[in-house]
Amino acid sequence: MKKLEIIIEAVEKRKVCRLLDELNVSGYTIIDNVLGKGSHFTRSGSELSDVMKNSMIIVVENDEIVSKIINVLKEEVLNFYSGKLFLSDVQSVD
């Protein structure tokens, strides 16, 4: 099992979720208003619109689905928007 942490601009959150649904991902966790500083802008989260804000989406899936997700996100989202993908091994205990 792999855990994929997707940090993405908040305006693209809906699209990423749609792409995950299309790939039949069994579930994901969303954390809004992820703050910090990266190479593009300081993510302040204090604006009234979703621009300049980040969200994090966490997906735990098997290797095959995770690699599909990475390919799709690179092509459809990360080509145009700032964001980060972090992949790690994970063990589900329940």
Binding site: V11, N33, F41, S44, S49, V51
Partner: protein, 327 residues
């Protein structure tokens, strides 16, 4: 002229504007004042409901006044021409690339709820009445500029904007069904249905605290604008000047158009403020989806940290004076 100076000073000395300045200064001196984001969002929703509802009740009382169709036409013409003028100025005078031209034009063609609300507070202080449907006009003027600007980018760009297609659905949703459009139209309709009797039951919440709540909201807006002060360098001199010059040019076009349509002075004033305002809630989200290559530091800083403060502090009394003397 004396009247203008009196109005301008009265506006600057109003509690709302002074709290805006306080918010701005508090970030400059790095004070730790913080308004939770959820409260800012709730306040923005409050103003959209308050102005939409009040407008609906006015319509239920007076019916749809004669000026409605002229107003719809006026708002559509303004919504289409202002982004076009902005685009051409940015492209041919500013030599800005097409994508950033489109992104900035979308903001200057679209409208700002908070500038509109501040103009209403300005009229409230002077006890001047305006047409109930103006809240609907505001909602009507939010989206056309966004579509016109994206269309202009497509027309002027030789290379295709590949993201447009895949994000089309999100763009439509963001532009046509964003919270301000749904809340303004929704509250307007509810106000029309419940009428004066319904107004009596919510008046202590939606009408009386309006200006007071605006002080809190503008304090927050001042802080948000102040946080962007560090971005001024990125924006540069031309775009900074554009952010002051463009609202005045848009205001003059709106005054000219409104006078041709024979609108009342107060409605013409609100149209002028709407045309002069630039969006920083609806347009940034739509533009980020449609034109991700555009630089948000430009359009957000210009709209929020330059045009918005200029309009509420100086623009509103200037436009009011021009309408009262030229109209």
């Amino acid at each position: 002229m004396d009247l203008f100076i009196k109005d301008a000073l009265q506006n600057l000395a109003s509690p709302m504007i002074m709290f805006f300045i306080l918010g701005f200064l508090s970030t400059v001196i790095k004070s730790d004042i913080e308004i939770p984001q959820a409260i800012s969002k709730a306040l923005a929703i409050y103003f959209m409901i308050a102005i939409g509802f009040k407008g609906g009740v006015e319509i239920s009382k007076n019916g749809l006044e004669n000026g409605l169709f002229q107003s719809i036409l006026n708002s559509l013409i303004i919504g289409i021409t202002t982004p076009l003028i902005s685009f051409l100025i940015l492209k041919y005078i500013g030599k800005i690339d097409n994508i950033n031209c489109g992104a900035i034009s979308a903001h200057y063609g679209s409208v700002s709820v908070v500038t509109f609300v501040t103009a209403i507070a300005f009229l409230n202080i002077k006890s001047i009445q305006y047409s109930g449907y103006m809240a609907g006009m505001m909602a009507l003027m939010e989206s056309p500029a966004i579509f016109v600007s994206i269309l202009l980018v497509r027309i002027f760009s030789s290379q295709k904007i590949s993201t447009l297609k895949s994000n089309y659905l999100d763009l439509l949703r963001e532009s046509l069904f964003n919270s301000s459009i749904v809340l303004l139209f929704g509250s307007l309709v509810i106000g029309m249905i419940v009428g004066e009797r319904g107004m009596m039951s919510v008046k202590p919440f939606l009408v009386e605290p309006f200006n007071g709540i605006l002080t809190l909201f503008l304090l927050d807006m001042g802080m948000i604008a102040g946080q962007r002060i560090g971005e001024f360098k990125k924006v540069g001199l031309f775009l900074s000047l554009f952010a002051v010059f463009m609202p005045v040019l848009n205001a003059l076009s709106a005054i000219f158009l409104s006078s041709s349509f024979n609108l009342s002075k107060s409605d013409a004033f609100l149209f002028t403020v709407l045309a002069a305002s630039s969006s920083y809630i609806a347009a940034p989200a739509a533009v980020r989806i449609a034109l991700p290559q555009a630089n948000p530091a430009y359009y957000i800083t210009m709209s929020l940290a330059i045009t918005f403060p200029f309009n509420i502090m100086f623009g509103i009394p200037i436009y009011f004076y021009l309408i009262n003397n030229w109209f």
